[in-house]
C-alpha cells in the first residue's frame, strides 16, 4: 500500500517557499511512475477530486511532491489522477546547495522611475 496525500499548496509553482496542506489520504495499491510523471487509478468514488491540486508520496524515505496535472473521469470505471513531480520542492535542499548558471538574468525592477505628464513626444508636429 502506498499512502498518497492530496491537498493544496500555497505559493507559486516555481517557488521554493511552498507549503503543502494535505487534506485527504488515499491508500492505493498501484502507483505507476517514471522519473517525472505518475498515474494513480482509483475506483469509483464520491470524492470531489477537483479540490486537490497537489500531492505527496513517501518514497525511499523522501517525501516526493507532485502537481496534479489532470484528472480523468472514466465514469463507472473510476478515476485516473495524473501527477507531475515537483522537482523543485522535492529536492529543495539539493537545489539550494547547487550552482545556477544565470543564463537569464538576475532581474530588478527600477522602483524610482517617476512618471510625469511631461513624458510625451509628438509624432506629428503642428504647423
Amino acid at each position: 500500500m502506498i499512502e498518497l496525500k492530496l491537498g493544496q499548496y500555497t505559493g507559486k509553482p516555481n517557488s521554493l517557499n511552498k507549503e503543502f496542506i494535505p487534506s485527504l489520504t488515499l491508500n492505493i495499491l498501484r502507483f505507476n511512475t517514471d522519473d517525472i510523471t505518475s498515474t494513480v487509478r482509483i475506483g469509483n468514488t464520491n470524492l470531489d477530486l477537483k479540490l486537490y491540486g497537489y500531492a505527496s508520496v513517501l518514497k525511499d524515505n523522501r517525501l516526493v511532491y507532485y502537481f496534479v496535472d489532470r484528472i480523468e473521469w472514466l465514469g463507472k470505471r473510476g478515476t485516473i489522477i495524473y501527477l507531475r513531480k515537483d522537482i523543485l520542492f522535492t529536492y529543495q535542499s539539493e537545489v539550494l546547495a547547487s550552482e545556477i548558471a544565470v543564463t537569464g538574468f538576475n532581474q530588478e525592477t527600477i522602483p524610482s522611475l517617476e512618471h510625469t505628464n511631461d513624458n510625451y513626444i509628438i509624432i506629428v508636429g503642428g504647423s
Partner: protein, 408 residues
Amino acid sequence: MTVTSERFLLENCYIDKTRPNPNTGQLEVRGIYNHEDYTNERGLYFIEIVADDGYFIENLTFELIDENGNIFNNDSITNADTKYIMTVDEYLKQSNPIEFLNMVESENQEIEIYPMAGNRHMGVHRTNSGVMYFIPFESDDFGSYEAVNVNKGWSSYFNEGAFIKQTSDAFGGITSDEMYDTLMFSITGGGSEAPLETFYNTYQLSYQDLQTAKDKGILVNDVIINTYSYPYVLVDNISESTIKIGEMDTAIVADVLLGNSQLEIFSHELNYTYSGVDELILNIPFMSSDIYLDYEQVNNTTLKMVINYDNLTGQTTLFIYSDDILITTDGYDIESAIPINYVGVMSGYGDSEKRLSYSDVTLRFRFRDSVPLADKTGYIEGRFDKVEGLNVSELDELNKQITYGLIL
C-alpha cells in the same frame, strides 16, 4: 459544460471569447465553451471584457458559481484586505499604478509583487493564504478598446491568473479545464462613454489616417499624439494647431501636442554590490531591443535617460547619460509603432513589435559564471547544469519548471 455568461447584464461592453494562441501569438477565435477540445492544453485562458467603441468599463462585479451553487464574488473570494480589491475603474484612477503597488506591498508584508511570465504581466500575490489579488492592468492588452483582462483565467502549469485564482482556497489547484466545467460566471456592470483623456491616451496617425486626411481634408482623430512613454493620462500640452499634409490645399485643424524637444524620462541611481557581473541590461517598455551597459562603468553613478524629438525629421532618439556624461553617442532610434487609435480597431495584437515590450523599466544583470544559489534571494532566471541526486530527466524537468524564473 455549464459555463454561462449573460450578455444582457452587460451594458456597452461584451465578452470577448478570443484569445491569443500562446504558441503563435495570433489571435484566435475560440469560444470559452469549447474547452473540452483543449483538455490537454496548458496555456493562458482569457475571458476579456471589452467595452464597445467609445466606451470604457466601469463598475464591474463578478460572480463565480460552482457546481454546488456556492457563489464566489469580490467579497467572498477575498475575506481580508478588500480595500485592495478594486474595480478596473478604481485601479485606473490611481495616479501612479506602479507606486500604488509598492504602497500595497509596504503596508502588508504578506504581499509580494513579482514579474510573471517573462515580465509581461504583473501580479500581486498574498503568500500566506495563497490568494491572488485582482490586478486589472494587463500590459499585454494594450488595446484601443480599453480592453482589460478582468479575468485572466488560470492554468495549473503556469499558475497564473488573477480572478479565478482567487478561488484557489476553495478549489485547490485544479486545471482550468475542470474549472470551467464547473463554473458559471456572471458579470454585471457597464461601460460609460469614454472621455477624451483615457488611460490609453496614446494615438498615432496611421498611414490610412494620413491618406484620409490628404484626400478628404478631415482627421479621424481629434488628437494626434504618440507617446513612447507609459500609457498615462495626458492632461497638459495639447493645443490646437493645423496640419498640412502633402499637396493639400487647406490645412486641417487638429489638437496636437507641442512640447519640448528633449525630455528626461528617467533617472536612477545605480548602487549595486554584485560582483562578477558581466553586463547590465536595461529594458525599457517602448523598446523591444535590449540596451547593454558596462556594469563597471555605470555602477555607482546616476543613470539618466533623455528622449530627444527632432521636430524637423520626426525622429525620436534616446540618449543615456551616466553622471551627466553621455555614454551613448549615437543614441537609440525609437521607432515604436504603438497600435493605438482612439476609436479604431486594435491590430497587430500578436505582433510583438507593435506592443510595449515590457511593463516596466527593468535592469538585468548578466553574470559571468554560475553562482551558488544559496547567496541569492528573490527572483532569479537561470539554469542548473547539475544538481546532486537528480538524474538527467529530473534535471530537465527542473529546468523546465523554472523556465519563468525561480522564486527563492
